[in-house]
């Protein structure tokens, strides 16, 4: 494979949880991805601008403080407007307030046209496995 697949990674909204993000950065990099890590408190526009300029294959959003649903609203629409409507959108973490059934949460985010949604405590290898599948990496190899 001549070029690494690129993912834009960050914590969305007013969320400052940096530790999980470092673990994700490390895991994705180890798995052979090129990671563009935008850090914490990243806005939708920053994710999208970074993805455009770097020609990224996926945007991976982390959120831990419970407001992820509000922060992620309209993300796909903005991607479409910016000309990267087809980009893979992943979101994971503690993305809603309180204890809710994950299948309901997942459905709400899939309705917002996110491609994959991950519950709290997901092992990074899970995300990597899905990325490899969605980006058809194993077929190419």
């Amino acid at each position: 494979m001549d070029q690494k697949k690129k993912i834009v990674l960050g914590v969305i909204g007013a969320d400052v949880h940096a530790v999980g993000l470092q673990i994700l950065d490390f895991s994705f990099t180890e798995a052979g991805f090129e990671v563009i890590n935008l850090g914490v408190m990243v806005s939708q526009e920053e994710f999208i601008n970074a993805a455009i300029e770097t020609n990224a294959d996926a945007i991976v959003i982390s959120s831990l403080y419970g407001h992820g649903e509000l922060d992620c609203k309209g993300m796909r629409e903005k991607c479409i407007e910016a000309g990267i409507g087809e980009i893979l959108l992943y979101v994971g973490g503690n993305i809603v307030v309180g204890k809710q059934l994950f299948s309901d949460v997942e459905k709400r985010f899939l309705d917002m046209k996110f491609d994959r949604v991950f519950p709290p405590g997901t092992d990074p290898t899970e995300g990597i496995r899905w990325l490899r599948q969605d980006l058809h990496m194993d077929e190419e190899a």
Partner: protein, 461 residues
């Protein structure tokens, strides 16, 4: 007596500084009208004669120069995302002393193309995509530019995987182009120095000929740079010092002219607190901004518009509305008018104060509050200049005025605008004899002497 001569070819005046290096002393400074329409050497000869009048006959040890004559270095830049590569390209061009006439982002439209052909810049900077990132935009823009009636050289400093192809497209169309390292190789990594060096090389090669300066180059020794670069070099040296002598530390400088206002800062401007998150493109430690709508004469109305209207200006100056309107009209039509009456002087003071307020706010970084579950956090964009302790006024109105301290107050951090990260406490220094550009040129060969001269002349050390 052996004398170093340093010339600054401006659009209106040719300034000349005579230096005795051994004694670390500025012998004389003078200015004569620039004669770019006939032979630029004429103005230089007049200035040299004028220096001789002041200090007597002398032997010239070396003659070096910088120039912003005939409109300076006019550049147009293009990038992909407005806040990312297009901004990186703009910052690179400004730091290289250019006048950035227009910034294009995304693929250029037919309207953009018409505009570019009308502008006919001295240099076009083509960027877009991080290394390994987007290729489509820069390739499309290269193809667009290749078809244009454009004679200027083109610098390619975008995604390294697309630059060879851009070069081929442009060369095939007979355009002179050069490849440089990407201005934004990775998101969050600005790499503007290589492109700035190339801009300077092209400035030497093409611009000087085009601007009627070639005839003096025989007289000059090999150093030549755009004037703003010389000023930026001088300020950087003054702030940092050399291996042998310490500098004065982080500083901000302002040059307010009739049509534009240049602001410089030499400071890392990093966040002060751990609960501050940086946003946006990183900014260079030695940063220059130019406000094209802010000036004391041609752009007097620009100041009024940007600073909040005529009422604010009249309240500040104490000059009546009627007289203010008349004077502003006079100022904007006649760039060379100097303040003669008390009313003119008061209006100039108010105009300069507002011009500096607007320009320094645009130059400095900003901070905003964000309430998060982890408590109060701050988001910083651009540089935090609150710790800067030195402010320099360069040239023009700011040197002539009787109220430099009062005007400088408008550059200060203000509780009324807590978001603008401008210097909190500073000492004001005046470059009374306009030696900064000369010292920038001199610093290329004799940095220690240039530093000592600046400290002596400007900081009275």
């Amino acid at each position: 007596m052996k004398v170093y001569l340093l010339a600054d070819f401006g659009s209106t005046y040719t300034k000349l500084t005579a230096v005795d290096l051994e004694l670390s002393h500025i012998l004389a400074t003078t200015q004569c009208p620039t004669t770019v329409k006939t032979d630029i050497a004429e103005g230089l000869n007049h200035a040299t004669a004028e220096i001789e009048n002041q200090i007597g006959k002398f032997e010239i040890e070396a003659l070096h120069a910088c120039s912003s004559a005939a409109g300076g270095l006019r550049m147009v830049v293009s990038g992909l995302v407005e806040e990312l590569t297009a901004e990186a390209a703009r910052v690179a061009a400004l730091g290289a002393g250019a006048r950035v006439i227009r910034v294009f982002s995304n693929k250029m439209t037919k309207g953009d193309v018409r505009e570019l052909e009308t502008i006919q810049p001295d240099l076009f900077l083509l960027t877009g995509g991080t290394d390994g990132g987007d290729e489509q935009c820069i390739l499309a823009n290269a193809a667009t530019v290749a078809k244009l009636n454009l004679t200027c050289p083109i610098l390619i400093a975008g995604n390294c995987q697309a630059t060879d192809e851009c070069f081929e497209i442009l060369s095939a169309a007979g355009k002179e182009s050069r490849i440089c390292p990407n201005v934004l190789p990775k998101l969050g990594t600005l790499n503007i120095q290589p492109v700035q060096e190339e801009i300077r090389a092209l400035f030497l090669k093409r611009i000087i000929q085009a601007k009627g300066l070639s005839r003096v180059t025989r007289l000059l020794d090999d150093i030549m740079m755009p004037t703003p670069v010389a000023v930026l070099k001088a300020l950087t040296l003054l702030a940092h010092g050399t291996d042998k002598e310490c500098g004065i530390g982080p500083l901000m400088a302002v040059d307010l002219g009739g049509a534009t206002c240049d602001v410089y800062s030499i400071s890392a401007g990093s966040p002060k607190e751990s609960n501050t998150v940086m946003r946006g493109l990183p900014e260079p430690e030695a940063k220059r901004t130019v406000e094209g709508d802010i000036g004391m004469r041609i752009n007097a109305y620009g100041v009024v518009e940007a600073a909040g209207g005529l009422e604010r200006l009249t309240a500040m100056s104490g000059v009546s509305m009627q007289e203010t309107t008349d004077l502003l009209s006079q100022f904007s039509k006649n760039p060379s008018v100097l303040p003669e009456t008390a009313a003119m002087e008061q209006l100039d003071k108010a105009l300069a104060s507002l011009a500096l307020e607007v320009s320094t706010i645009r130059h400095a970084g900003t901070i905003s509050e964000a309430y998060t579950p982890a408590g109060l956090m701050y988001i910083q964009e651009g540089k935090d200049l609150r710790d800067i302790r030195q402010l320099l006024f360069i040239g023009g109105t700011l040197i002539r005025t009787r109220y430099p301290q009062a005007i400088a107050e408008c550059c200060r951090y203000s509780p009324a605008r807590p978001e603008s990260l401008r210097p909190e406490q500073f000492d004001l220094y005046l470059d009374k004899r306009y030696i900064l550009s000369a010292m920038g040129v001199l610093s290329e060969i004799h940095p220690n002497e240039a530093l000592r001269l600046m400290k002596k002349e400007i900081c009275f050390e």
